[in-house]
Symmetry: C2
Subunit: 189 residues, 2 copies
């Protein structure tokens, strides 16, 4: 139902009718609507993880191109699973309740896809620094995908968006490498 009509199209009564039970019975399967949404999110993250792994597997490209591939794959996944992907970020826990552990753990797993090629590119950097860079890279690409698929502003056709993302990821990596080399040259001239 989330995939079809979005998070706001998920109603307990419709859900109960669809699975063939009384509306109250939904609460035997799930504590909350929050839990249901997080469980669906967990599946979505798993599928995203698989898509990213598949994208990495083909050929033996440079770390740069691996990162570009990951970004493009993320974009495609979001486009093909628009509502489910949106549900990952639109959902807000109701006040005072925090995300359970099993859900938080899912999210961290994804960063390793970015972390590994980054570590190859920047062997001098420590784990913390790499983690932060990975998160920044992800955030930047995520922003492009999020606002790009939001047809609110100028509607960008998907192929153009993919090109933009690829270009900007390459630019970011080039810039990061140049910056690293410059600071290296300055440190040991």
């Amino acid at each position: 139902m989330i995939a079809g009509r979005g998070l706001s199209g998920l109603k307990t009564r419709d859900l109960a009718r669809e699975i063939g039970c009384a509306n109250g019975a939904v609460y035997n399967l799930v504590e909350d609507m929050d839990e249901l949404i997080l469980r669906v999110g967990s599946r979505t993250l798993l599928r995203l993880d698989q898509a990213l792994s598949t994208a990495e597997g083909a050929g033996e490209p440079s770390p740069q191109e691996t990162l570009v591939r990951i970004a493009i794959t993320y974009c495609d996944f979001a486009a093909e699973n628009l509502q489910l992907w949106r549900a990952l970020f639109e959902h807000r826990m109701e006040a005072g309740k925090l995300v359970p552990d099993w859900s938080a753990a899912d999210q961290m797993q994804l960063f390793r896809h970015i972390y590994v090629p980054l570590a190859t590119l920047f062997p001098k950097r420590g784990a913390d620094e790499l983690g932060i860079t990975a998160r920044s890279l992800f955030s930047a690409v995520h922003g492009m995908v999020a606002l790009g698929l939001e047809q609110k502003l100028v509607a960008v056709p998907l192929p153009a968006l993919r090109e933009e993302i690829a270009g900007l990821v390459r630019a970011m990596i080039d810039g990061l490498i140049a910056r690293a080399e410059r600071s290296h040259a300055a440190a040991a001239p």
Copy 2:
């Protein structure tokens, strides 16, 4: 009320009590809750626009550093106006209703802050291309701010986030420039 308790903390009855009228009377001031939220959003965008203009005004820095300043200012504005800023992006129009013109126009205005320095940096590019690059740059920075201020994952202290943003913006611009020079050299060697 949005600034205080967030979009989900805005209730018509509370609002009516606060302004001292019956709950029904709210609908004489505003068509909808949608309209109210968009009107608040309009004010927020105006204040953001002013903050960006102020940031540009000081000194006469290079276009690169202007773009970095803009990004940092955006980050700071989001941090200082967290709920109002979130409301800009969290709000979804109820199905089938489209954003009125006066609201859509507000959003476009902001891109000129990015567009102008970019046009200086890349005089060869056409208006369309610059517009797309501007939007990509904004999206990337927005993503970093959005996920950075979302304390859900690893909590990043604000100064560190600002540094990350500055670094990545510089890297992106360096990369874009290098890329432009390379294609220029290939075109006319």
